[in-house]
């Protein structure tokens, strides 16, 4: 009994006390941050679907650091850095989340599964009703992505890293995950976390941007919904098939993303009820759950404490801010083209955080004019934003991979 060290029994605390002070402080901060994410997710301030599993994962993984050998510390959750076959085989048998990470994360499958689910809940009819205005807005709303890229290079990031963080401007979580896995695998954890954190904040921040940039008088503009054409499921399927094939031909590197999204859309429109239920339920929510959980578990202090993280935080914020401004500029462009009949607030929906930004636009407009309904136009811009973000992802991956 005399030689027994009580800390040997509680190894999470032993590694906290005996480890590198910087890492130990990082672990405590990340545990607190994890608890805060769960609280804010449960309160609905941040996106609960991502933040609750992510927060639990963050708190648990930073607590559960143990001695793997006499000198080596680590966890039995996941080892994101292992790539050689023999250690990978060991990791697959030891770390309980390693199979999910290796077989769905590191090859981008989880992003595709989320995209399939998003496709299954997306009505592309909105974009078919007003294709040119929707696309013009979506192109403008990529301003943040485009401006962030050279800024990130100027701040010292490599081209690949800069492309991965600038895609945050597209406000599409799976797209950020896909790009960072393709171009900057070593930074995909902090980049994806920054992306999902900020995407959760768009709901709170964009209303202020709208009020700042669009005067009350213009926010109340009522848009014409009577003359919008009705779109049949056959037209939606034809559009999805043709667009998917052309985009795959143009950008094979993003073929899995295009196929996943349009497959979801086609399943929805073809009315195969069992498949629709499968994609919009187990596939979408299952993959979102594991996405959140694995992102949290990947937030181990030793992985996340990277000097580049501060730059990523600044660049992510800049990208989303500029995309929001770009979207509203697009809204103004359509306002002038339509000679005052188009509500410029729709522009914010070009930032493709489906359907959050469309809802934000509708909510802000209804605060000024209760009878103004712009949701179909906003959803059109929203879905177009998904397509433009996928195109930009594809171009970056093709040019820089």
């Amino acid at each position: 009994m005399g030689g027994f060290d009580v800390l040997y029994l509680f190894q999470g605390i032993a590694t906290l006390v005996g480890g590198d002070p910087g890492i130990s402080i990082g672990r405590i901060v990340l545990i607190m941050l994890g608890l805060l994410f769960v609280y804010l997710g449960a309160k609905g301030i941040l996106e609960p679907l991502i933040m609750i599993p992510m927060g639990v994962g963050m708190a648990a993984v930073n607590g559960a650091v143990l001695y793997l050998s006499a000198t080596n510390q680590g966890t039995i959750f996941i080892d994101p850095m292992v790539s050689d076959p023999a250690p990978l085989l060991d990791a697959l048998q030891i770390n309980f989340l390693q199979p999910i990470y290796t077989f769905t994360f590191s090859n981008g499958l989880i992003a595709c599964l989320v995209f399939m689910g998003i496709g299954a809940i997306t009505d592309v009819g909105f974009i078919l009703m007003a294709p040119f205005s929707s696309m013009i807005i979506a192109i403008c709303a990529e301003l943040g992505t485009i401006l962030t890229f050279p800024l990130a290079v100027w701040m010292g990031l490599t081209f690949k890293e800069a492309a991965a963080i600038s895609v945050v401007g597209g406000a599409d979580g799976p797209m950020v995950l896909f790009t960072s896995l393709m171009l900057a695998k070593h930074l995909f954890v902090p980049i994806t976390i920054v992306a999902y954190l900020y995407l959760s904040l768009t709901y709170g921040g964009y209303p202020y941007l709208i009020r700042l940039l669009v005067p009350k008088k213009l926010r109340g503009i009522k848009m014409d919904l009577k003359n919008m054409p009705k779109v049949t499921p056959g037209e939606k399927i034809a559009f999805s098939l043709i667009t998917c094939t052309i985009l795959c031909l143009l950008f094979p590197v993003a073929g899995p993303l295009f196929m996943s999204f349009f497959l979801g859309v086609i399943v929805r429109e073809s009315g195969v009820k069992r498949f629709v239920e499968f994609l919009e339920g187990p596939v979408l929510f299952g993959s979102t759950f594991f996405l959140g959980l694995l992102l949290g578990v990947l937030c181990e202090a030793s992985t996340i404490l990277n000097p580049k993280v501060l730059n990523l935080l600044i660049l992510g914020m800049f990208a989303l801010l500029m995309s929001g401004i770009g979207g509203i500029i697009g809204g103004y462009a359509m306002y002038f083209i339509s000679k005052g009949k188009f509500n410029p607030v729709v522009g914010i929906a070009g930032v493709s955080c489906v359907p959050t930004t469309a809802k934000v636009a509708q909510k802000e407009i209804q605060k000024v004019n209760k009878h103004a309904l712009i949701l179909p136009y906003a959803m059109g811009a929203n879905v177009s934003g998904v397509i433009t973000s996928a195109i930009i992802t594809a171009i970056f991956c093709t040019l820089l991979r």
């Binding site: 974009i127 078919l128 294709p131 040119f132 929707s134 696309m135 013009i136 979506a138 192109i139 990529e142 485009i146 401006l147 890229f149 050279p150 290079v153 100027w154 081209f159 800069a162 054409p229 049949t232 056959g234 037209e235 034809a238 559009f239 043709i242 667009t243 052309i246 985009l247 143009l250 177009s384 397509i387 433009t388 195109i391 930009i392 171009i395 970056f396 040019l399 820089l400």
Partner: protein, 51 residues
């Protein structure tokens, strides 16, 4: 500069944006074409029915 293409960051950004704009507007054009084709076919069938 990129290794393969010898481009500056601004050039990459510009190429990306212009390509994205062209392809996106092309997609919008496809949508219009599909609409016209399907509507035109529908109208033809209605005309045949009337005759």
């Amino acid at each position: 500069m990129t290794g393969k293409l010898n481009l500056t960051s601004w050039e990459v950004a510009l190429i990306t944006y212009v390509t994205c704009a062209i392809v996106s507007l092309g997609v919008a054009g496809i949508i219009k074409l599909i609409f016209f084709a399907i509507r035109w076919k529908g109208e033809q069938q209605v005309k045949k029915g009337v005759q």
